[in-house]
């Protein structure tokens, strides 16, 4: 064919080279990050935020639906994991399962009320639900620790039968544990997005009316997308609780929802890996700038504005454009 090939924004079309670079960098973090003055827990935070934002991006970037309340599911994941560790059993996998189920099921049920709303109304209702969760965690002192957050739990070593992974004390091992969970989760996401079901989400994003007149039950697909996105976001939240041995009511707050949106948009919402790049930028700003000034959010905000003004498709989107040009 003589026509130039244009790469479509589907995850299946992503080049192998890019995948190789990303995973080579992620797998060697403990080797090079300290040389740059970073520490491994910081990389863990990048992965957790990246997973939350990539999960959110299934909705924003790949279904075309804007949720401003994803902190709710992130926070529920964290509280679910924390409460399970504190009151049920000192088991890390069980805690992750509990957190993921709590946030995911809450999102699935709430999604039923959401799917007929569109645009700004959808966003408003999602904020409202996020704030409801925030105030419950904030006020229910006895269970959640209220404003101080949930303390008094710690991630437990994982017993594999033949060996024990001491993720409680070995930071590098814990990083690789997070990386494993992250890899499995985003691998699953890529599979979903590259499937016939995933393509129907693109169709809804591109043109809802056309999708409907192909015979697609649009509401049901948006609901499924929302539900899947919430399960993955809650998984990220449960990892966050393990990372900090702490669950924070502010993790449920709309400010956190805003952070997830910023990470995604800065990184590039039409690209699969964009939110990972956004998370790197966000955590770097959070870490380096907050050590210099308490007004670090100002710099995050300025960076966000600059990125949106000059790279409206985000950093990854810009790289992709360049590669295609």
């Amino acid at each position: 064919m003589s026509t130039p090939l244009a790469t479509a924004p589907s995850p299946a079309a992503r080049p192998w080279r890019q995948l190789l670079i990303i995973w080579a960098l992620l797998l060697t973090v403990p080797l090079w990050l300290p040389l740059l003055g970073g520490y491994t827990a910081m990389a863990g935070r990048v992965l957790v935020f990246a997973l939350a934002a990539m999960s959110f991006n299934m909705l924003l970037g790949f279904t075309g639906v804007m949720s401003f309340g994803h902190a709710a599911y992130f926070g529920l994941g964290a509280y679910g994991a924390g409460l399970c560790l504190k009151f049920v059993a000192a088991s890390t996998p069980l805690a992750m399962l509990a957190g993921t189920l709590l946030g995911g099921i809450a999102g699935t049920l709430f999604g039923l009320l959401l799917v007929r709303r569109r645009g700004v109304y959808f966003a408003m209702v999602t904020i409202a639900f996020g704030q409801v969760c925030f105030y419950i965690a904030y006020k229910w002192d006895d269970l959640t620790g209220g404003y101080d957050g949930l303390r008094g739990f710690a991630r437990a070593p994982i017993d594999l039968g033949f060996a024990t992974l001491d993720i409680a004390n070995n930071g590098t091992l814990f990083y690789f544990f997070i990386l494993l969970v992250f890899g499995l989760a985003v691998g699953l996401q890529a599979l979903v997005l590259g499937s016939p079901f995933g393509r129907t989400l693109l169709a809804i994003r591109e043109n809802e009316r056309r999708a409907r007149f192909l015979g697609l039950p649009v509401e049901r697909h948006i609901w499924l997308s929302f539900s899947i996105s919430c399960f993955f976001t809650a998984l990220a939240g449960s990892l966050y609780a393990l990372l900090n041995n702490f669950a924070d009511p502010l993790g449920l707050n709309y400010i956190m929802s805003g952070n997830i949106v910023m990470i995604t948009v800065m990184g590039g919402m039409r690209t699969f890996w964009g939110p990972l790049v956004g998370a790197v930028l966000f955590v770097m700003l959070q870490d380096y700038v907050s050590s210099m000034t308490t007004n670090w959010m100002f710099f995050v905000g300025m960076t966000f504005v600059l990125v949106v003004l000059f790279f409206p498709r985000g950093l990854m989107g810009m790289l992709k454009r360049k590669a295609e040009a």
């Binding site: 016939p196 591109e206 007149f213 499924l224």
Partner: protein, 253 residues
């Protein structure tokens, strides 16, 4: 084909928007294999009539039958599954996806794969073959991997028709397929519609303003004016009809 009932029947359909009677007591009967054109001045209720047939909104009164079966209670998506394919007056496509992806999504939806998380090799081949087939029909094979948003208006229109075809409709409804096209593009789309009708035996109902296209393609023509059915007949009959000439043909275009 298998049934003796006409492909599409409309009995006394009306649609009111508040005080406006957009479609008033229109009846129509389209046989299998027929190509029916609906013409009429702007505001005659043609697109509203299409929206009633496709279930975009329900009629205020009247009945719509597909293959002899009353479909008044069937929502738009259900009518698509029953064999209605539709294109819109303003092109409705997936602009940031390629032609191939546009048709592939339509094929997969038509085959009932839209909730699948994966496809077997055989299913993948089936999807690819069906997608290639409709792209071939619409003369889009050479542009398969281009983003649809970057194509010419005529090719975007052809993509939309290809997507409708991907659903293997037994009834194809085209709302002004040549709207906004130059002569060359009009000629291409007209050729495509004629091939679909003559060679592939599709039953087609189209709304069209371009009288050359209408008289060239249609077996029968229905004329709407002010929401009512003014006349119906072969192109020769309509061309000779005085009412139609007064109401429409004489004045417009």
């Amino acid at each position: 084909m298998s049934t003796t009932a006409p492909k599409l029947e409309v009995h006394n359909a009306s649609k009111n928007f508040g005080n406006l009677r957009a479609v008033s007591d229109v009846s129509m009967r389209v046989e299998s294999g027929e190509l029916r054109a609906i013409i009429g001045p702007n505001g005659a209720g043609k697109t509203t009539f299409f929206n009633l047939i496709t279930g975009f909104f329900p009629p205020s009164s009247g009945d719509i039958l597909l293959d002899g079966r009353n479909i008044n209670g069937v929502p738009a998506a259900g009518r698509v599954k029953m064999g209605m394919g539709r294109t819109f007056q303003i092109t409705e496509i997936f602009p940031e996806l390629t032609v191939r992806e546009n048709t592939r999504i339509a094929v997969e939806t038509g085959l009932g794969f839209s909730l699948r998380a994966w496809l077997t090799g055989a299913d993948k081949q089936r999807v690819a073959a069906a997608s290639d087939e409709v792209m071939g029909l619409a003369n889009l094979t050479s542009k398969a991997d281009r983003l649809v948003g970057e194509l010419s208006h005529g090719d975007q229109r052809a993509t939309e028709i290809a997507m409708a075809l991907a659903l293997k409709p037994s009834l194809l409804l085209l709302d002004e397929p040549t709207a906004g096209m130059g002569d060359e593009e009009t000629y291409q789309i007209t050729g495509l519609i004629r091939r679909l009708h003559r060679d592939s035996k599709y039953t087609i109902v189209l709304i069209e303003h371009d009288m050359r296209v209408v008289f060239h393609l249609a077996d029968h023509i229905s004329v709407l004016a002010e929401g009512r059915l003014l006349a119906e007949g072969t192109p020769e009959e309509i061309g000779a009809n005085e009412h139609v000439q007064n109401a429409y043909l004489g004045k417009a275009e």
